[in-house]
Structure formats: structure tokens, C-alpha cells
């Protein structure tokens, strides 16, 4: 009898280890990595309409951009985000800009202030507010601006193809040499794999709601 139980005990231990290991990345809450499936969302745009990726029937993917009103880096990149949209929306990759900042921590990122900024800059893309920060946390965005390029799959899900920055010089657009996001988008549009799917830049920390 005792000997018979041993393999069960062994199996149970293995199972436990497996469960624990599977639980580690989940509890880590690091957000998406390239290759992960990105969740859709339903967030309110500055025009009052709710925006979801599923609403865009013809899109091949999206440039999901976490950005805000208050971060000087975001402001420095506003025109370049508009350019990205104007260049890649016709190729199937429109921009959806998500403001991740908590209004209490950063009052000038309120919905009203977002509406003003979107109007001033004539944003040609939705500028939505992630009020609960649920989407920001799910994606794992940490700074503004922070880009996630997702590609629509045959089954209608969205796969993360690029995470990172727009280019190599936030301060001086004229001195940009490496357009990281464009390079990734060009590869996606051409049906190729993204050769540099992860890039980093200094940015403003996201203003998290105080627990």
C-alpha cells in the first residue's frame, strides 16, 4: 500500500510545483511581452463615444499609445504621434491614444483637460481616458509615452508586436536618426517579423492612483 502511494505523492508534488510556477508570472503583474495577446478595452473618447479595437472592422492592428497632457516628453511627441497616425492609419494601423494618469494625482489629465488638448492639437485619433487604470495595468505601461503596436490575428485577437518608444531623440525631432516605431510598423505592413520589437526611452512615470 505504502509503495503504491509514493508515485501519487510524487505526482502531487510535481503538480504543485507546476501550479506555483504558472502563478509566478501572473502575480508579477509585469504586463504584456511581445507575442502576448492584448486585451481589448472600452474607454471613453474625448468626443464622448466609447472606443474599442473591435469597432475598427478594417484595421490590421493598432498603435496603442499611452500618453498624457502633462508629461513634457508626451507633449514633445504629440506632433510625431499625429504623424504616425496619418502615415499608418491608411496602411491599417491607426493610433489609439490612452491617457493612463489618475486625475487626483495629475489634475491636468482630467477628461475636460484632455478634450481641450485634443481640440488644440486637432488629434486625428481617439484620445481616451483609462480612468480605472485597468487597461494600463493589463498592458504593463509604466511611462508616457509608451507604445504598444498590436496586430490583428485571423481569429480576431490582437497580438503584441512591438513595445517601446517612437524614436531616438525626444528633445529634437530634427536630430532623429532611428525611428524605432516606424521601422517596426514598416515590417508589419510588409508582412515581416519585427526585427527590433523592444525599445526603451526615458519618460514620465505614470501617475498611479493612491491605494
Amino acid at each position: 500500500m505504502k509503495n503504491n502511494r509514493l508515485p501519487f505523492l510524487y505526482m502531487a508534488c510535481l503538480l504543485l510545483v507546476g501550479v506555483l510556477m504558472a502563478a509566478i508570472p501572473a502575480s508579477n503583474n509585469a504586463g504584456y511581452q511581445v507575442g502576448d495577446t492584448a486585451r481589448d478595452f472600452k474607454l471613453k473618447n474625448v468626443d464622448g463615444k466609447m472606443i474599442s479595437m473591435a469597432n475598427y472592422k478594417d484595421a490590421k492592428g493598432f498603435i496603442v499609445t499611452f500618453t498624457c497632457n502633462t508629461c513634457p516628453y508626451s507633449v514633445a511627441y504629440e506632433d510625431r504621434i499625429i504623424d504616425l497616425h496619418n502615415k499608418y492609419a491608411p496602411k491599417g494601423y491607426p493610433v489609439i491614444a490612452i491617457n493612463p494618469n489618475d486625475v487626483k494625482e495629475s489634475p491636468k489629465d482630467s477628461y475636460k483637460h484632455m478634450q481641450v488638448r485634443a481640440k488644440e492639437k486637432k488629434f486625428p485619433f481617439p484620445y481616451v481616458h483609462d480612468e480605472t487604470q485597468e487597461i494600463t495595468k493589463a498592458y504593463g505601461a509604466t511611462r508616457t509615452p509608451h507604445l504598444y503596436v498590436v496586430q490583428k490575428q485571423k481569429d480576431g485577437t490582437f497580438k503584441v508586436a512591438y513595445i517601446g518608444t517612437i524614436d531616438d531623440n525626444s528633445r529634437e525631432p530634427g536630430k532623429v536618426q532611428k525611428k524605432y516605431a516606424e521601422a517596426a510598423l514598416n515590417e508589419l505592413v510588409a508582412g515581416k517579423a519585427v526585427s527590433q520589437p523592444n525599445t526603451k526611452a526615458i519618460g514620465c512615470t505614470i501617475k498611479w492612483r493612491e491605494a
Binding site: R143, D168, T205
Partner: protein
């Protein structure tokens, strides 16, 4: 020498000394190699390296804690270093006036590396690039800790107490 002149010299000396004491540090522009060199400093010293910028609100909020720590541990093997992420073009117009206004006393660097993608992973792969961010290290003792968020005064004091040689 008249008493009057002596008094004047004394007064001038005092004025000079106090002005030196309250004078802000200069900001040294560095490249990545120098940052790497600092990160690898072999001494039995606790280095507290804070990455900030004049445009970063939470950085400015936590800055007094670093300045206080600098003053408090001046005579101990603890070095507080503030590394500005401002663009080098903004050094004269924004960084130096900020430093002077706040009379910053910690050691000050400005990292002139506009393309974060070339160096962030090399200094800390866990760092996403958000600031404020702070590193604590003593290479002699193999100690290292990295925090990518705003730090509280209590937390900073606790970490310094934990690691200082």
C-alpha cells in the same frame, strides 16, 4: 592695520565662507561610459544614484529627501548623486537655474545620452525608463537595489541605514 580694516576683512571672510557653503554644486555633463564607471565604483561606499529631471514632478518632490541624506551622511562613506535626464541643450537655461534656486549640494551629473534605448538596458535591464528611479549599490560588498518609482523619505532613510558601511 586699523581695527576698522580688520573688522572689514573678518566680515568679508565670513561672507565668502557662507557664500561658499550655500553655493550650489556645478553640474558635470557625462556620457554613458562615465555612468557605467560610477556604477562599477569599487569602493566600500554606499552610492545612492537618483535619476531625475527638471520637468519631472515626482522627482522634484522627492529631491529634498536626497539632499537631506547628502547633508546627514556627508562624513560617512555614503555618496548621494543626482543624475539629470534633462537634454544637454537645456543645461544652461533650465538645469543650472534650478540647481541654483534650490541650492543643491549633492553631486550633480547630467547624462547626455538622448537615445535611452542604447543605454537603459546596459545599466539596469529591469528599468523601463520611467523616472524617478534610484539605485543603491556598494560594489565592495556586492550590494545592489533598484527602485523605479517615487521614494518616500522614510524608505530612503531605511535603505541607507540598511546598506551604509
Amino acid at each position: 592695520m586699523t581695527v576698522y580694516l580688520k573688522q572689514l576683512i573678518l566680515l568679508l571672510t565670513i561672507a565668502l565662507l557662507t557664500s561658499v557653503a550655500t553655493q550650489a554644486q556645478t553640474v558635470t555633463t557625462i556620457k554613458f561610459d562615465q555612468l557605467q564607471e560610477l556604477r562599477q565604483a569599487p569602493h566600500d561606499t554606499l552610492y545612492v544614484v537618483n535619476f531625475w529631471a527638471t520637468w519631472c514632478k515626482p522627482c522634484i518632490k522627492e529631491m529634498p529627501y536626497f539632499e537631506a541624506a547628502h547633508a546627514q551622511y556627508k562624513d560617512q562613506p555614503v555618496r548621494v548623486i543626482l543624475v539629470s535626464m534633462d537634454a544637454v541643450q537645456d543645461k544652461e537655461k533650465r538645469v543650472l537655474p534650478f540647481v541654483q534656486k534650490r541650492k543643491l549640494q549633492s553631486r550633480l551629473y547630467l547624462l547626455d545620452e538622448p537615445d535611452g534605448n542604447t543605454w537603459i538596458d546596459r545599466i539596469e535591464p529591469k528599468w523601463s525608463g520611467a523616472i524617478p528611479a534610484t539605485m543603491f549599490f556598494n560594489n565592495k560588498r556586492g550590494q545592489y537595489e533598484f527602485i523605479e518609482r517615487e521614494i518616500s523619505e522614510k524608505e530612503l532613510q531605511e535603505l541607507i541605514t540598511k546598506y551604509k558601511p
